[in-house]
């Protein structure tokens, strides 16, 4: 694991997960794409699973974040406005949310 010194986002930043249709090995679940959340922490930087899955072992490391979403922002019929959902998302899936 390298440092997260080059991370674009810091805890507290508002972000949006890219709404991107891709095939192959991806670790951004479909249900969270396009959703808005807040950076909870920087987890470090890791090699990109989208490359590792296809034998690219020496690709660049990518900062990994835990993004916290309100359940109500993810599901139309969320059980409670208090509840949250934290998901690990790689930086190349995140956009700054200025809305």
């Amino acid at each position: 694991m390298s440092t997260a010194a080059h991370a674009r986002f810091v805890p507290g930043d508002r972000v949006r997960v890219a709404q991107r249709e891709v095939t192959g090995h991806v670790r951004t679940p479909g249900y969270i794409r396009g959703k808005r959340g807040v950076v909870e922490r920087i987890c470090g930087a890791f090699r990109n699973p989208e490359q590792l899955a296809y034998g690219v072992w020496d690709g660049p490391v990518v900062p990994l974040y835990r993004i916290r979403f309100a359940q109500a922002d993810v599901w139309p019929a969320a059980e409670s406005a208090l509840d949250t959902l934290d998901v690990e998302i790689y930086e190349h899936w995140l956009e700054r949310d200025d809305a």
Binding site: P49, D83, L85, E88
Partner: protein
């Protein structure tokens, strides 16, 4: 095809793949055996030790929440490349762990995951209706307790640090560790004080 027949197919596939790797010199027989032994040597008792330590030592708890893997190594538990994130239950917040993409699980601390953790039903419902799932496990949370679901989608692995049950003030650390179940560290159960004669009024 029955689940059992499907499992036999995977066993045959695993054996063929393992033999091919050994024949090609990628791994040795004894390395595979050692790894299997390591996996089976890990049980939820390890995680329970970590939880009880955190209940008894606030400074350890702070280090555990800041860097889970480093804190666990302090206890002499070797966790390899595990990147552990410990999430603490509070009076007004309850944590629940799931891996929607596969079955990521802190095996170095809890051993092998239960079958239900790998089921499509748990994986799809835990993120969407966690309170309904918890109720089916017998955990009914008051409306003013927030549910924090953690989806292990990438490199982190999660362990829930439950609240120490009330009525355990007279127990030592080892006795408290015995109350911490696997399910409590996944977040689908809440540890309870023992109901033995010794703790009765």
């Amino acid at each position: 095809m029955s689940a059992e027949a499907g499992s036999r197919d995977f066993e045959a596939l695993e054996a063929a793949f393992r033999e091919a790797l050994i024949a090609a010199g990628v791994v040795r027989d004894d390395e595979v055996a050692e790894r299997v032994e390591l996996i089976y040597s890990r049980t939820p008792a390890l995680g329970a030790r970590v939880v009880a330590r955190a209940w008894f030592d606030p400074a350890f708890k702070a280090r555990l929440l800041a860097d889970g893997s480093a804190a666990v190594r302090e206890l002499g538990i070797e966790v390899g490349t595990l990147k552990l994130v410990v999430v603490a239950n509070e009076e007004r917040a309850h944590n629940l762990v799931v891996c929607t993409l596969c079955s990521c699980y802190p095996r170095m601390l809890l051993g092998l995951p239960p079958d239900w953790y790998k089921s499509i039903a748990y994986r799809s419902r835990a993120v969407r209706e966690p309170r309904a799932v918890l109720a089916e496990f017998g955990v009914s949370l008051p409306p003013d307790v927030a549910v924090r679901v953690h989806d292990s989608t990438a490199d982190m692995r999660y362990l829930v640090l439950p609240l120490r049950p009330k009525g355990t003030e007279h127990l030592d650390e080892a006795a408290c560790a015995a109350l911490v179940t696997r399910d409590a560290m996944i977040g689908v159960a809440i540890p309870a004080a023992p109901t033995s004669a010794s703790s009765a009024p």
